[in-house]
Amino acid sequence: MNATFMPFTKILLTFAVAFWAILFDDPLYLLGLAAFVFVLLLTAGIVKVQGKAVGMLVVFAIILGLVQYVGGGSLDSAYVTALRMLCMTWIFLLLLVSTSLQDLTAALVTQCKIPYAYAFMFTAALRFVPDFVAESKAVQEAQACRGADHSGSFLKRMKSYLYVIQPLLLKSLGRSEMMALALELRGFGNEDHSFVSNVTMRAQDYVVTILLAVITIGFVYLVF
């Protein structure tokens, strides 16, 4: 899947499926759509590697269906809510898992026309997440060695949680200045940006795009 279609095609597919899910009001149609998305997940190998996430979304959809039913909706409307949720979140999972971050960034900038600075911020923030997780663990340890106890009631835990946040905060703000300088030194913000990732659409991408458009028009015609 990763090699077969370009990220932009997958973004289009995601929004097309989401649109179809909103379009359909019949549980049977939605069931068909969910089956279709599941087959996509299966062929992309995502059911295998991200089975837990796929399952969690099912649980979540069921809960939402129950909320609908308990809140006074009919059984049919509960099915619609649950299945619609399932289609919309599954297809998003497909997009996120089957696309490398590098390719996604390139597609967001070159094809979705999102300014590069924002795409960069997104990947850079994700780069720091594991570092900060390690950092917060180190802070907790340092504080434990100074007698801090990270257990107790909600308020107590919240308070000691803030003790951990603050050194993390100060350290990262201290970093921000050097990072800003490093960005300037490395030519960040230049108009002329290139990407190593090649995300140019190929023949099969255009075929899928046209197919998506035709199907969407067909569905709209069918429903109204």
Partner: protein, 271 residues
């Protein structure tokens, strides 16, 4: 004072980092912990403060078994200064920063104030009590971290590579401070890669290697008797190598000692 008995440890079940490790730490000792990267020298000190739990074996403090104690509870006996001292700092003044520990221990406001003032006095930072910690120099931050550990009123002070990144002057000041704390009866445990510091400052060396305690004895014995220094990730300091090249000179713990003796030796040899 602190006794480690037959401790084994590994981060993952399939792997043993070290086993059969036993040693004691007495007050007034200046103990170096050395060894190759990844041999467990930091890990063994993490076991002492309770950041890790041994797979087997026990740890005693004055014959009380503290193996199951949390780091917070052990902090009254053992202080730990981490490698990057600014990691833990988060309060608006140095005094408040140092006060964090005693506050957690439940001392009254007046007591906390006194303990803090004493700790700052001991590291000679009283004049910086109201300073904003992030703006301090590297050496001063290090001393704030030491004061924070002293404020726990602990009797053992463990420092993880405190001289890394510090320049000659800062290192000299730090070592002077540690020696004075040791004279006051504290036990100092220093994790270090610096062979010159081990030779010139420490009363004892513990080397981790070969998945166990590879050496426990005086720096002199380590640097003159062991022929597996390189395998243990250690190196003979220059002063020891040079003193060994002149057999009648005897063991020299520092370059200063070497040059002094060498000059005397030569003068006598000249006569």
């Amino acid at each position: 004072m602190l006794r480690v008995s037959d401790v084994a440890f590994g981060y993952v079940p399939e792997q043993t980092l070290f086993k059969d490790v036993s040693f004691t730490i007495e007050s007034g000792e200046f103990l170096a912990v050395g060894g190759r990267n990844g041999c467990g020298k930091t890990t063994i000190t993490r076991l002492l403060v309770g950041l890790e739990t041994p797979r087997t074996g026990r740890i005693f403090y004055n014959d009380t078994d503290i193996t199951g104690w949390t780091p917070a509870k052990r902090s009254q006996y053992i202080g730990y200064v981490f490698q990057q001292p600014d990691r833990q700092m988060f309060r608006p003044t140095v005094a408040q920063e140092v006060a964090f520990g005693p506050e957690q221990q439940g001392y009254s406001r007046a007591e906390v104030k006194e303990i803090t003032a004493q700790a700052l006095e001991r590291v000679r930072l009283s004049d910086k009590a109201d300073a904003y910690p992030p703006l301090l120099h590297r050496g001063e931050k290090q001393r704030v971290a030491i004061a924070s550990a002293l404020a726990m009123q602990s009797e053992i002070l463990i420092l993880d590579e405190p001289t890394s990144g510090q320049d000659g002057t800062e290192t000299k000041e730090l070592l002077g401070l540690l020696q004075s704390l040791r004279k006051d009866g504290l036990a100092i445990v220093l994790i270090t890669h610096d062979m010159e510091i081990i030779a010139s400052q420490c009363s004892r060396v513990l080397v981790m290697g070969n998945q166990t305690k590879a050496f426990d004895g005086s720096p002199e014995e380590l640097f003159t008797k062991r022929d597996d220094l390189e395998a243990l990730g250690l190196e003979r300091p220059a002063c020891v190598s040079l003193s060994m090249a002149v057999p009648s000179l005897g063991y020299c713990a520092s370059m200063e000692e070497f040059t002094k003796r060498m000059i005397t030796y030569k003068q006598q040899g000249g006569r």
